[in-house]
Each structure stands twice: as C-alpha cells, then as structure tokens.
Amino acid sequence: MTTVDDRPVGRADRVSGTTELLRVENLRVSFGATEVVGGISFTARPGQCLAIVGESGSGKSVTARTLVGLTGPGARVSADRIDLAGADLLHTTERAWRGLRGRQIGFVLQDALVSLDQLRRVGDEVAEPLKLHRWGNRAARAAKAVELLASVGVPEPEVRAQQRPYELSGGLRQRALIASAIALDPPLLIADEPTTALDVTVQAQVLDLLAASKERGTSIILISHDLSVVARLADEVAVMRDGHIVEHGPAGQVLHDPRHDYTRMLLAAIPSEHTRGTRLSGTATTVQRARRQVDRGRPVLEARHLTKVFRGPDKVDRTVVDDVSFELFGGETLGIVGESGSGKTTTARIALAILEATSGEVLLRGEPWSALSTDRRRPLRKQVGVVYQDPLSSFDPRWSVGRIVTDALATGRRPPSSKTEARDRAVRLLEQVGLTGAHLASSPLRLSGGQRQRVAIARALAPEPSVIVCDEPVSALDVSIQAQVLDLLTDLQDELGVSYLFISHDLGVIHHVSDRILVMKDGRVVEHGTATEVFERPRHPYTRQLLTAVPRLGSA
C-alpha cells in the first residue's frame, strides 16, 4: 500500500510549467462491457491549465471523477500510472482518498446549480472541506468561509454565507462552489464545465476567477464542451472523442491550427460573426449560400408595445416584459438576445398568443391575433409554429414520432385526407429535416438530442406556417449538433421562406442567424438594429458589455 502524504504541496514546489503535478498514463474506464475512456494520457503542471474538450458523452466527466476516485459504482478503472505529486493514486484506499479530496485536489462539479446542499448555509458548505480536514475551530472556519467567498468575488460575503444556495443566483452559486473547492488551497483544481449554465457576463467573471487561481500557482484541469470558453484560460488543450484523446497540444496550436479533422469540425461549427451566411456543419470548408429574399412589405408578425406584469407569490408585481415592439417580415429572422430572465421566453409566448399580454397587442399579417378569442384564433394557429429549447418536454412522452408529426399535419393548412397520405407526408417532412421514415415508430425518448430537435422542427413545419418562433432551439445541443440544426433552419428558410423569431442567449448563434436583432435587458428592448449594426456599432452600454464578455477563440 502506498501512503500518500496529505499535506498540500508547498507553494515553493509550484513552479509554473516545469514540474509535473499529475501524470496520467493510459487511463481506461469501463462500465460493464462498455469502455467509456479508452486509454488516455495527460499531465498537469502547477500554474498551468489543461483543458479537456469534447462533445457530450465523450468521457470528460468520467475522467475527471476518476482523478478523485469517484468514478462511480460499477466502474472499472485501469491505468499504467496515475501519480499526484509523486504519490500513486492507482492503489489508494478509500480512507486515503478522503485525505486527498479537498486537500490535494479541489473539484468543481459539472452541475453547479445543484452541487451545493440546498438545505445548508452557503458558509457551511464552503467551510465543509475545512471541517473535514480538521482545519481550525468553528469560528475560524466561519471567518475563513467569508474570506473565501470574498476572494472569489462574492459581494457581501458575510450575508451570503448566512444564506442558502437557492437564495443565490447561478453565478454566485458557481463562485461559492469554487470557493469551497479552493478552501484548502489544493495544488490541483479540477473544474468540470464550470460556466455552462451561466450568462456570458457571469461566465467571464468565473473564468477570470480561475485565471487568478492559476496565477497563484494552482494547476487547473478545465473541462468543457465549449472551445471558446477554453480558449480564454487553457495553456494546453486535449480534445476528447469517444473516450480517446484525438488531439493534444498547446492551446494556440490546437485552436488555431488544428491537426485532427474532428477538432477542425468542432471549430468550424462554432457560430459567430464570421460564420454568417455560411454552413456550420457537414464539410469543413465553408460554402456560400444563395441569399434568401426578405419581403419588406407588410410584417408577418408585429408586436406593439407588449407589456407583461406578473404577480409573484409575495403579491408584488413584476414587469417582466416592458413595452416591447417589433416587426417580423416574410423570410426574415429576427433575433432576440439577452440574459437569463430578461423576458425573452415571455415575449415569445405572448407572440404565440399562448400568454396574454398585460397590454399591447400582436398582429398576424396585419390582422388581430392576440386580441382574438381562443376559438377565433384556433384556425389561424397553423400559421405560427414553435420550436422549444427542450424538445423532449414538448413531446407527449407516450407518443411516437409518427403520431406527433401526423397530429401536427392534421392541424395544418392542408390536413391529410387519408392515413396513407398522412404517413407519406410525415415521411417527407422527416426527410426534409434529415430523418427517415424509419423514425416514425420511434419514441422521442430514444432519440438523440439533435434528432429530437429535428422532430420538433418537423412538427413546427407540418402545418406549413409562415412564422416559426424558436425559443432557444439549440441551447441544449452540442456544438456540432447545434451546427447541423442551425444549418437546417436556414436551409428551410431559404427553401420555404418562413420567418423566424429566434431567441437565444448565445450571441454567436444570434449573430450567425439573424437579419435583425433585439437586445433585451430586464424586459426592455435596449438595442434594436440589423445584425451588423448591433454587433459592430453597439450603442447601448449593456450591449457593449455583452459583446466584450463573449468568449472568443481569438483571445487565446
């Protein structure tokens, strides 16, 4: 049995870039018969950041968890070598692991928003590693927790320490989680998708925080599916795919001069200002498409001074949408961008006439739409389709793909007259979105994320609408799948001339797809203009702030 020295490695040892803190050789992890990590090797050095990137399911989190001995029940782990500061981690007892976790290795879990115990005070959560490793007395730990919260940039740390996680915003929670991970100043910090759930501005702050930690000599392993996030922090990047590292090298080289096709594909799939009017998926080469026609006549959908006030459980009124107006023309894409909670979804639901506005109205082709009675509106619904962020929850879990699509066909402009016709048209729709008739019988539960979103799009198209409201249609998808779906949407627009009201918090995506853009903040439209105007000559300070916060590959 190897004994592991559980004193943190001294500051002096942390000479940036030279010594190895962690060495992993030929790590393999399998669950039952399936191997999810297939022999990977990497090293981590003090004061350096190793980024592991890759698509969902590529084995990033499993790798990370293995490094703290928490791979999961039923996992089989083997490696030629896993050393941490010279100590062998491969043959470590559970007891010894406990000494290492939190002290030698700080770990920031992927699901930041639910990684703190909701029932305990934030301060206690932050101080827990201190307590577990017998650091100081109660009072000292409490003081230290406040200090840690302050150090990760949490405002009013004394107050926050007394609050519970649900009383904190996502960004604050993420920071508290990081504070807890670095409480004992471990030499190695593993951060698994630390920014995924955050708004861009908050994301930037968290990345800065990690960068500061790196400056102090901590070795960071950063895990992300988002290459642009990684670009900001990483010294070295390892690209994972199906449990293998397909490319590994200095950040600048991997991000700007990728060797492997897969890495290239990933990079090409990132939507941004450069990708406007190009395809993101398929081939690595960019193909210029024919520009579609925008009909600037009468707007297809027009919102006039929409305001929505919600009364909260505390009986306080909140104006969630505040005097929002817009026009959407035929064949056009209007992007709405803004932080979480800025009122985007609410606006979309009002536009769909699913939610009644407190004041203001929505016109469809110049005719009343939101003002109609439910019964009068029902026949017009076929003109407005919708694609949601979470396709799965928008499908009745008991229904097959075929039923979902034929049901939508039946509500459309040309309801199918027979079963065979319905079937044929459903198959055609599926083919249009890149699926096949074979998917008719499947349950959406068994489809991949991208396939599900395609079904959702097929359903939206079935009634042959002139407008489709897309509420974060790609936010839940991997970058490569996101690319396919965005391409599909633009292709369909070119082909059918539908208009999109496209909502996203991702500026890259918005920039990529939109003709015109609305920027929302706190329910208000703060900026409004063509994509070029908004991105290149932002007038409102908030827009500028957003734009600077966006992680870019170029910054690496």
């Binding site: 639901r349 769909l352 699913i354 439910t374 029902r378 026949p379 017009l380 619904r381 076929k382 407005v384 389709g385 919708v386 949601y388 979470d390 799965l392 929850s393 928008s394 499908f395 009745d396 879990p397 008991r398 049901d407 939508a408 509500t411 539960l445 359903r459 009634p463």
Partner: protein, 278 residues
C-alpha cells in the same frame, strides 16, 4: 419535468418480482376459477373432523365446523380481491372527478375542493367506514364503499397535484400552440399523462384496500357469513390463536403475501413508469 424522468433504480430484487407475480397469478386464478385449485365446497361442513391441524388432506387445517381452511381461503379470493379492486376503482372514480375539477376549474372551485378534501382528511377513515356501515349494514358492497370512499381523498389530492404538474408540461403548451382545443388537449395529453404514474399507485391501493377491508371484517363489520373473505376468516380465527393457531395465522399470512406481492409489483411498475406521485 417529473413526468419525464424515465429511469429509476428498481428496488426489489428480480426474484421478488417473480415471486410476486406467482402469488398474484395464483390469487387471480383462485378468484376466477377456484374450482381449478380446490375441488371441495368452501362451506362443506364435516363435524367429525373439526379443528384439525394442517395435514396433507387439509393443507391449512380445518375450522370448528370441519370446513377445509385452504378451500375457504381459495374461495375467499374472489371477494377479497373484489373488494381490493372495487374499492380502488371507486376511490379512483371519485378522485378523478374531484382531482381534475379542482385542478382545471379555476381558483374558486379549486379552493373549495381543496377545503373539502382537507375536511375529508381530518375525518377518521374508520369513522367513515362505521358510518357507511351504520347506514347500509355490513355487506360486500358496503365494505367496498367504505374503503373506497375512505381512500378517495388521498388519491384526489395526488391527481390534482399530478394534473397541475402535467399542465405545466411543454407538450401541453405545444399542443395548444398547434391549435388543438382545450378539451382535446385534456383528453389526449393531460388525462393520460396525469394518470400514468397513478397506475402504480392504484396497484398499491389494491393491496392496501384488501388489508383495510379485512380490518373491517376483523371489527365484525365485514362481509356476511358464510363468506370466506379473508378478513372474515381472521375474525373467525382470532379466538383460536392460542389453541388452533392455523385459523388465525394462515389467513393472515395469505393477506400479507398478497398485499406484499401486489405492493411490490406496484412499486416495480412505479419504477418502470417513473415518477411517483405524492
């Protein structure tokens, strides 16, 4: 979305599920065609062989009228199971009515029904049973009514919660956005999805109803003799426990076995279907 969580760990070992299935199959067979399992009459008396301990001839022994207890247990399955199913069905009919109305008919109605349910909860179930029996007299139908009405409020509250949850689901909004009428949405999406997790709850309810009904019999308020409804057997066996143990213990074991089997099947089902409704 709770209705969409699909996978949950299955608790009972597989063996348990298989055994449960066997027990349930046996009982269902007993209820449908008791003649298949035993050939005598459950009421055939034989005053020459009273109170005989279990033996090959009488696997569960005989009672003080010389009736074969095993035959009686097998023949009692129909009524016991009937009570379990009947009471659960009745409870669900009432509960669906109340639950859906409360969840869908607006704030005022919801508040009213919620209050009614609260009163119903505050009402001891036993008293309800006693009152029903006082009104109708003890019988099979009364037992079903008493147990059914007694368990309805619990289900009603669950259904209400379930409907409210499913109502929030994306697919409900999606269906409305497609232009379907409210009634269609209820019929095609809301109802089936709200009720789906309750299939398991209903299964659990059957087991509990059997136990409950037998408690009524135990208080002497059950089905009229010479029925061999299991609770009635227990009631009859009670005085014998120190002298002829089998008369009390064996029917009890049968009730427990059936209840545990139905319950564990219900839980397995619940785990399969996902999302327990509370």
């Amino acid at each position: 979305m709770s209705t969409l969580t699909v996978t949950r760990a299955v608790h009972l070992p597989k063996v348990g599920t298989v055994l449960s299935l066997l027990v349930v199959a046996f009982v269902v067979a007993a209820a449908l065609v008791p003649g298949l399992l035993v050939d005598g009459s459950p009421t055939a008396i034989d005053l020459k062989s009273t109170l005989e301990a279990p033996s090959w001839a009488h696997p569960f022994g005989t009672d003080d009228a010389g009736r074969d207890l095993f035959t009686r247990v097998v023949h009692g399955a129909r009524e016991s199971l009937g009570i379990g199913l009947g009471a659960t069905a009745l409870a669900f009919v009432i509960a669906i009515g109340l639950g859906f109305t409360a969840a869908l008919a607006g704030r005022v109605v919801d508040a009213a029904i919620t209050r009614v349910l609260e009163v119903a909860f505050a009402f001891p179930a036993l008293l309800l049973a006693l009152l029903v029996i006082a009104v109708r007299g003890p019988s099979l139908a009364t037992s079903i009514a008493a147990v059914g009405i007694g368990s309805a409020p619990g289900y009603a509250r669950m259904i209400r919660g379930q409907v409210l949850a499913v109502r929030q689901a994306g697919f409900i909004e999606a269906a409305a956005a497609l232009g379907h009428g409210w009634f269609t949405v209820i019929r095609r999406h809301l109802f089936p999805n709200a009720m789906r997790p309750l299939v398991a709850v209903a299964t659990l309810g059957v087991g509990q109803s059997i136990v409950w009904a037998s408690a009524l019999s135990f208080l002497g308020l059950g089905v009229a003799p010479p029925s061999s409804e299991w609770g009635a057997l227990l009631d009859a066996g009670r005085l014998h426990i120190t002298t002829s143990w089998w008369l009390e213990i064996l029917p009890g074991v049968v009730i427990v076995l059936v209840a545990i089997s139905v319950t564990s099947l219900g839980r397995t089902l619940q785990n399969r279907l996902g999302g327990a409704a509370r």
